[in-house]
């Protein structure tokens, strides 16, 4: 299966939110990285057929998704960024409702719902009203509904928002296991969400893809641009204010070790270190003033 985005464009008045982006997505996890406002959510909405593109098209195995209609939507699983819910529905009611919308019979929908609620750790809360859920529980419920129909295309927009570290790990493992033969698009600005499970990274800025490749290939773009500097504590604060500092570690001897992302060495004695995806993210989304 192949999902092709062909010069996909979305314009809101004079503002271009997504600007002729093209990519061919194969089974596996594609991490879509970008700052807030980069156009990720708009792109996700177009992929999920809830926002009509201004230009371009989405092709599923060569067939236009807009023409496939219900057939295309039947293959989708979508967790939107702003996940709305029905406050008076219990978690099970909500899942049954979504299962019905996804074409399940009531009996099969109930069984599948319970299975997924169990998988996301909500089985014991299945009969509780969604309005009593914490943000993390609602997010897990959202993930469960997206996976109800075992979707061939799973689109997750900021899926880990509100999840605690343990839940994040659980979520990552769930998606990694799920994505063997499915197209998973995981949009996030939290690098660690995709760092270990993505087969491919697309970095989006101002409506366009600015980087595309495997995590290793993408990270290489930052090679030679990540520095480690050992400075006095007072100097560390000055550098943090003026440079793109990925990390500061304060030592007990009054010194600090800074991890700086910059094209040039930030100081004499700075040593080059191996970049990570987070370093690359900082490099791509720096504001041009080194921050």
């Amino acid at each position: 299966m192949e999902l092709k985005l062909d010069r996909l464009t979305k314009q809101f008045g004079a503002r271009i939110a997504v600007d002729r982006v093209s990519a061919t997505l194969a089974p596996g996890v594609t991490g879509l990285l970008g700052a807030n406002g980069a156009g990720k959510t708009t792109l996700m909405r177009m992929v999920c057929d809830v926002l009509r593109p201004t230009g371009g098209q989405i092709l599923l195995d060569g067939r236009d998704a807009s023409e496939l209609g219900d057939e295309y939507r039947a293959l989708l699983g979508y967790l939107p960024q702003d996940f709305g819910y029905y406050p008076d529905f219990s978690a099970l009611d909500f899942m049954r409702y979504m299962a019905t919308l996804k074409g399940f019979s009531d009996r099969d929908g109930r069984a599948r719902s319970m299975e997924l609620l169990d998988e996301v750790g909500l089985a014991d809360d299945a009969r509780r009203k969604v309005k009593t859920f914490s943000g993390g529980m609602r997010q897990r419920l959202g993930i469960a509904q997206a996976m109800l129909n075992d979707p061939a295309i799973l689109v997750l927009d900021e899926p880990t928002a509100g999840l605690d570290p343990k839940e994040r790990v659980r979520f990552r493992n769930l998606i990694a296991g799920f994505a063997q033969d499915k197209v998973v698009i995981l949009s996030t600005h939290i690098v660690s969400d995709v760092e270990f499970i993505a087969n491919r990274i697309l970095v989006m800025r101002q409506g366009s893809f600015v980087l595309d490749g495997t995590p290793e290939q993408v990270v290489k773009q930052a090679a030679g641009k990540v520095w480690e500097c050992r400075v006095e504590t007072r100097r560390a604060e000055e550098m943090s204010a003026s440079l793109q500092v990925a990390n500061v570690r304060y030592a007990t001897d009054g010194h600090a070790v800074l991890r700086v992302v910059a094209d040039e060495p930030p100081m004499v004695g700075a040593s080059v270190v191996e970049p990570t995806l987070e370093d690359l993210y900082l490099l791509v989304f720096s504001d041009g003033n080194g921050r």
């Binding site: 809830v50 219900d70 702003d82 009611d93 129909n149």
Partner: protein
């Protein structure tokens, strides 16, 4: 589909503002009915005593039953003579008009009161003899009197709001020809009240529209459209299920309301008079050749159609906006502006097409609309208008939901 409709109904029932509105309308209906019954006061014809509540209703029933029977020419002539005698006796006693009922009984006795003031104030005599007096000289048959009364109204126009064209006059005369004479008179208080309350369903429409305000708009407002639309049934069965659930809700609520109006009145006043002519209940100037029962069925069926048409309007607005407020505001304005519009003469005919005023006047007054040689009365135009709204607006609402852009 059934499961989806079930869930959509659950969402409608979860709309608190809507449920409170619907409950308030029902509570208001119950309260007004009980107040109407318990606060009734009348002076009993047979005893001259002032009676309240249930006794008052019993007394009014007794009086109506006293007049029951066929209104033959001989009978109405006797009634006219009785009213004339009452007026004459009143004139012969100096100062009688200054006395109230109790003073007349205390001064001149019960029998004198029964022959004078009780007759003059009896609605039956006012209606029947008043109708005979619509002709000049006084008609000798009730049919001639009724025809003269209707003819006079056709000549005057509708309360000065609008005049009748010749084709409209011919339409109403033709309708009036269908009335059977001589007419049967009798007690029909329960059904009379049911007909008087038919406009109440026009108000209930507002509560229904508030309840339906979130059917589509709620999905946009709560950001749930983003998860329900990109599903297999999201743009296919879901919009249809929403419309079906809305119409089921409207039907259920309307049945509950109509059942309460009819049930309460029948329990309190009895079911007598179903087969009597509509004129016994609504006046001899009504040209519809219907029985009271037929008019009840038609008026409430019309009320139901109006409720469905207004529900379709509410759904259409709901599908176009992201807030539930405009749905409630526009439908409320639509209902209540009709009442205000009635006071603006040029807009009266349009105002009569709104739910509350339309249902108030349907089957009670000669309101007609003419286009060339074609004439239709108010109930027909209301049925066509609200039927068309139902047929046109529901697909438009479904289409708007399917095309909703999550942005």
């Amino acid at each position: 589909m059934g499961t989806l409709i079930e869930f959509e109904l659950k969402k409608i029932l979860g709309n608190r503002a809507g449920m409170v509105s619907c409950a308030l309308v029902l509570a208001m209906l119950l309260a007004l009915t009980v107040l109407d019954y318990t606060t009734a006061v009348t002076r009993d014809f047979f005893t001259g005593e002032v009676v309240h509540g249930a006794e008052a209703q019993k007394s009014a029933r007794g009086l109506q039953e006293m007049h029951a029977g066929q209104l033959t020419d001989e009978r109405v002539a006797d009634d006219a003579a009785a009213l004339d005698r009452a007026n004459q006796l009143g004139e012969e006693v100096p100062g009688l008009y200054e006395l109230d009922n109790q003073q007349i009984i205390d001064t001149y006795g019960l029998e004198f009161w029964q022959q004078t003031r009780a007759v003059a104030e009896d609605g039956y005599y006012m209606e029947v003899v008043g109708t005979l007096d619509s002709a000049s000289p006084r008609a000798t048959s009730l049919r001639d009197g009724a025809e003269a009364r209707i003819e006079g109204m056709l000549d005057q126009g509708f309360w000065g709001y609008f005049r009748y064209s010749d084709v409209e006059k011919a339409y109403w005369r033709n309708l009036e020809d269908g009335i059977s004479w001589p007419m049967e008179w009798g007690y029909m208080q329960g059904w009379h009240d049911v007909l008087e309350w038919k406009a109440f369903s026009g108000l209930a429409v507002v509560a229904v529209c508030i309840a339906l305000s979130g059917v589509f708009a709620g999905e946009y407002r709560d950001r749930t459209a983003a998860i329900v639309l990109p599903t297999r049934q999201g743009k296919r069965a879901l919009p249809a299920a929403k419309v079906a659930a809305s119409l089921i809700f409207t039907t259920a609520y309307w049945l509950l309301l109509a059942g309460l109006v009819i049930g309460l009145r029948v329990v309190l006043y009895g079911a007598d008079g179903w087969d009597l002519p509509l004129q016994v209940s609504q006046g001899l100037d009504v040209p519809y050749p219907l029985t009271v029962g037929q008019a009840v069925v038609l008026a409430y069926a019309l009320g139901y159609l109006v409720a469905l048409g207004m529900s379709a309007l509410a759904l259409l607005i709901s599908s176009k906006v992201r807030s539930t407020m405009p749905v409630a505001a526009i439908t409320m304005a639509f209902v209540f502006m009709g009442v205000l519009g009635l006071f603006m003469t040029p807009a009266a005919k349009i105002a009569l097409l709104t739910p509350f005023t339309g249902l108030s006047y349907a089957y009670d007054y000669m309101v007609s609309y003419a286009a060339g040689p074609l004439v239709a009365d108010l109930p027909t135009v209301l049925a066509v208008l609200y039927g068309a709204m139902l047929v046109a607006f529901t697909p438009l609402a479904m289409r708007a939901f399917k095309r909703h852009q999550v942005a």
